[in-house]
Symmetry: none
DNA sequence: TTCAATTTGTTCGTATGTATC
DNA sequence: GGATACATACGAACAAATTGA
């Protein structure tokens, strides 16, 4: 269990790293902190002593306790000169290993080191990762945002990087509230191409399964809608099934019931290959086959698209290439050479999960 | 005027420097010093805290306060940096993402950072990685050895870590020339269990495909041989097919010719699931089916074992758990608490790629 | 310049928790 | 298990430096 003074020290450290306590300014006096945290002055002093030792604070008798930044230029962390931080949601799943591989490869070729952390798509863990990167003094940061379509409580940390002149680039998605450069796939187009392909194969009533806690899901839905508009077709909002990281496990249960009632639907656009393969299994459990009974289309061209019993029609994703692009971007940015956003265009990859329908 | 605790600290420091308090020995406990100097315990603790900070003393809870000599090598690598280097052969392939995930998870939970690099199983790249880790000043290193069964030209670097007091632990394999602690799977047993299972299912003539540039392949072969000895059966050395990282691509070509000539062989033990799935595809191209024509057994229980058309009978691998164990080991080692090697025992996982033969 | 308020520094006392031998 | 030794936490008092009225 953490001791009181450690907890208080952690909180103060967080406030420093998120720029709530600004470098060079005083923090509240001991008496105030004592009241704030409901502890004795001794305990507050222990916490402060810890942070002074770490180089986050500096005390001046009679005046106050000031925020210091000497922790950055101590031989403590890694030699910050050529270290790039990488924060992703997941490490071992899906296409993430490929992206990380692309980043690592490129960085090491150029003599940079890679400091890695993952958030498991949880904002509290994201905060911990950001604090880690700030204390380690990385010279650049590549981030895949956590829950990019929800309000993010860690924006202060990102601003903190900006104020310290540490470049940040986002991959796969970005926080719309924040003007941070990004390297993404054109997800609207991906959703559009998937939907259009099903229309072209003669499907008239489509469903969509999409994730709505991240921006990719939102944009893929946007493409789904755009294709409908272009076809001058209306779609039934009931046929849009949404889920989040937390409800992922239950999505197929609710879907089975609903799909049984919607007899018209013949084509289903999926958020990604993982969902598409899950859907195919769920359909199989209902006695429905792909592509005979339903046409299904995935996204990301992951190993899952060719791993299951049905080879998925899907959309391409740059993976390694995206990782390499992010690495190159950040290395340029560290040398003060800023470049613009980069957007990869997805392409349709036709395999076996879509059937042509003729009326 | 000097404060009381400064005076006391000065006296204790003098006693250390004049060898009255000998390096490595305990100094009198707080209660005693309190009486000696006629002050409160708190004052004694202030004095001791000062000296601990200067590196003259080291406190051990429940035991005592010891004289330390770390003040002599200050500014050196003794710093409390909390960065662990991780070097693996591959990042995005096979079971490696899971292992890395296990390491990352555990390290971050405990406030450590992870510096990542990969060698692509190439010793030159391994050297670059090791140099990077040394210059970054990591406080511990987790390594999956590159070509562990071949002479390694980078042993000097590993010795360099040892000299600097930076703990190193190897995972999956180790360099036999080097006495470095390791966390591995019992690969001999894995090979043995696989072979034994085929015997038990009635197969009498077995082949082995194994990788011989790493130790795992060597040990898995050892298990293969051990099972034969136990069965008092001879095996034909012609039926042992070996490959290396560089010849991996061609292994199935040579195998197809040879297997066509060896009519007796009905069961094949594979180095891992990747090879097993490749074999199944190569056999399919010859018009042979698994398990009807050949029984095949994989290793590592990777996602590949259930991804293909045939679900593989294989052997378990701890993956995440191994990563976590490595992380825990290195964190203990950084705190000078050394523990021994750890060996995970594999278990047989029966799926569909082995057929029972009756004569 | 002085003075009072504020803030950190030093020192005492006491009680309880927890690791080690 | 019990004694020892360090760890955490509370409370109180006065000292010393700074700040701003």
């Amino acid at each position: 269990m953490k001791t009181k003074y450690q907890v208080i020290a952690d909180e103060i450290r967080s406030k420093i790293l998120s720029n709530e306590f600004v470098v060079g300014k005083v923090i509240p006096p001991e008496l105030q902190l004592q009241k704030d945290y409901g502890v004795s002055r001794h305990t507050v002093r222990e916490a402060i002593a810890l942070l002074v030792n770490e180089g986050f604070l500096r005390k001046e008798k009679g005046s106050g306790t000031y925020v210091d930044d000497s922790y950055q230029r101590r031989g403590d962390g890694v030699s910050s000169s050529k270290t790039i931080g990488v924060i992703t949601t997941y490490l071992s799943d899906y296409i993430f290993p490929s992206i990380i591989r692309g980043i690592e490869q490129k960085l090491r070729e150029n003599g940079y080191s890679l400091l890695l952390a993952s958030t498991n798509n949880d904002v509290d863990q994201e905060r911990a990762c950001l604090e880690q990167m700030l204390s380690q003094g990385v010279s650049g940061l590549i981030v895949e945002p956590t829950k990019s379509n929800q309000y993010n409580p860690n924006l202060a940390y990102y601003l903190s990087f900006k104020e310290r002149g540490i470049p940040v680039v986002m991959i796969n998605a970005y926080y719309e509230e924040l003007s941070v450069p990004f390297i993404c796939v054109n997800d609207t187009k991906a959703g559009y191409l998937a939907t259009k392909h099903l229309f072209e194969q003669g499907h008239q009533h489509l469903a969509l399964i999409t994730k709505i806690d991240d921006l990719q899901g939102k944009y893929r839905m946007k493409g789904f809608i755009k294709a409908h508009e272009e076809m001058r077709t209306n779609f039934d909002p009931k046929n849009v099934y949404t889920y989040t990281t937390e409800t992922k496990a239950q999505v197929f249960e609710t879907l089975r019931e609903k799909l049984a009632r919607e007899q018209e639907v013949t084509g289903i656009v999926c958020y990604n290959d993982e969902v598409a393969q899950g859907l195919i299994q769920a359909l199989a459990a209902m006695g429905k086959r792909v592509p005979e009974d339903y046409s299904v289309i995935g996204n990301d061209d992951s190993f899952l698209s060719t791993a299951g019993s049905v080879k998925l029609t899907t959309l391409s994703h740059p993976k390694e290439e995206l990782g390499e692009a992010a690495a190159e971007w950040i290395m340029l940015a560290v040398q003060q050479e800023m470049t613009g956003n980069k957007i990869f265009e997805p392409e349709l990859i036709i395999r076996d999960s879509v059937k042509r329908i003729t009326n």
